[in-house]
Assembly symmetry: C2
Homo-oligomer: 362 residues x 2
Amino acid sequence: MLDPWTADAFDYDKIVKKFGIKNFQEELLKIKNPNRLMRRGVILGHRDFNKITNLINKNEPFAVVTGMMPSGQMHIGHKMVVDQLIWYQENGGRLSLPIADLEAYAARGISFEKGKELAINEYLTNYIALGLNIDHDVNIYLQSQNQILQDLSFRASMKTNFSEMKAIYGFTPSTNLAHLTAPISQVADILIPQVEEYGGPINTVVPVGIDQDPHLRLTRDITNKLHEELGFLTPSSTYHRFITGLTGGKMSSSKPKTAIYLNEETKNAVKKLKSAKTGGRESLQEQKELGGKPDECVIFETLVYHLMDDDEKLKEIKEECLNGTLLCGDCKNRTCQLLEEFLDDLHEKQIESREIAQTIFD
Amino acid sequence: MLDPWTADAFDYDKIVKKFGIKNFQEELLKIKNPNRLMRRGVILGHRDFNKITNLINKNEPFAVVTGMMPSGQMHIGHKMVVDQLIWYQENGGRLSLPIADLEAYAARGISFEKGKELAINEYLTNYIALGLNIDHDVNIYLQSQNQILQDLSFRASMKTNFSEMKAIYGFTPSTNLAHLTAPISQVADILIPQVEEYGGPINTVVPVGIDQDPHLRLTRDITNKLHEELGFLTPSSTYHRFITGLTGGKMSSSKPKTAIYLNEETKNAVKKLKSAKTGGRESLQEQKELGGKPDECVIFETLVYHLMDDDEKLKEIKEECLNGTLLCGDCKNRTCQLLEEFLDDLHEKQIESREIAQTIFD
């Protein structure tokens, strides 16, 4: 059972096989200008992404949905989603960005007022500072304030039942009803670009972490059932790996030692990255002889996911690590330097971005 | 299984026994000035009404909840609820009147806009015209617009599960989730007078038709589970019989021949009542010999429920019917006369009442 709540460690290959997710590598060849995360295998699987590739290649419109749950702070791992949104935007995607304040309330007890404040000052501010153009065909909404969403949730909830929720999420007859029905608002979020008010049926892609696939399976099934009355098209999806936390496990907003926050003081962030888990060997001697293990290295991953744009240079670094000529100290220093530049720049941009973000719901 | 959706014919005694509802007759003796529906056995059962009797007798506050579903037209049967509300208001009850626009949308596809319009121009207008004082400690709200209700629904839905819904309503694993979760907003409606924002825990009575008892059972169970964290008190309830339709079955808004609408032209209504099913015998001769059957007579029921305030006079009519001296023609003429007076008066009052109703949500 793959579920979006307890997901922690993943055997990616097994999951991809078991649930019929397609490997992204084959699709990659057809994409004219794949983004960094696609090229580097961070995006590892998809469902029906070929529909989106075709639309991009023909310059035809499509929708992109990915939600933000306003709870806690944004960390550098969340940047992955924003990078993808920017890419989709450059390639003709209409963005739909639900703010999951209903879910934040349900799962974390965060009031709608607090959720809205976090969405503006934490999430949207950073989305804009990271480069998202919110004036260009972007629909940002609060779940709790969106009547169309509530109508759609209701229609979706008519098309599923306890049996299906049990099969997909492993719910039991004693699962409380709040938990049992929580996925329905996500289904509605995914389908909302297709309602008449927003332009009617449109192919949609949902770029998410692989733990979110159950929501896609549910949505795809409900979409098929709604097709006849509403003409909705089955959504496509892509699945990315999780970013590793600084201490080796999953990066988590609620565990400061594992995460680099986007609003964190640069000094502090650099200090944390400096003591992050690397792929280095036990001794300098051993490292020089055997080379490092970049695929198990948080520092290298930070370069791959976020800080190193140049594929060639990244390849060089990997080779130098593998052959033992690049040692962890130097590599860390360089990466920390890049992080410092990235964060200083971001913090500067946050000032203006916050002002823009604060006008979104006016 | 007693469920609120398919209820049609009732063996009242059996239901009262099976579900542990108490007979109202014993309670009646303790009530100082019981209303017409109590005195005449239209209210046949209750749960924990003794708590409310005690509060009334001690002049202490309590809450009263009863919802209106804004779908279609109000008929004379709905007047029963208003009569009870007025009585409770006179006896110190704080009224809470949810407008079930969520349910109207769910069950009948009525948009929130249309629901609001119906609530104002059809329901609230008539509530006021029938004598309800909406300025006196009355909380009227639209389910869809009430954030506190949505929060409470969420909290309530955390305290129940599929097993319980199955036990109470007979739901199966293939019941759609919209139907499965619909009762939750009714639970929240019943509990809302007890939230902090409305003054905190308070004894509450819910006067409803007996088909609504499953909602009370669910609410009582959830209340017990919420008691520790929120201090909520278990609600009391009373159960009334259904009014018989003009053609003999259930009176239904959607079947014009069965119902007298409150907004209907008096002439039209009188015409329908004139051809209603009576408790008369096959022939005049037989009727004179055996007497009529007032307990199976729609005309007599209309007097009992709505048109005849004077208990003594009502008793006389019954006796005259039973002993064959009062014949159906005369009895019908008198009742139609009373209906005409009632409706003409009501229609006049509706004009001003509508103006008041239209200010409620300003």
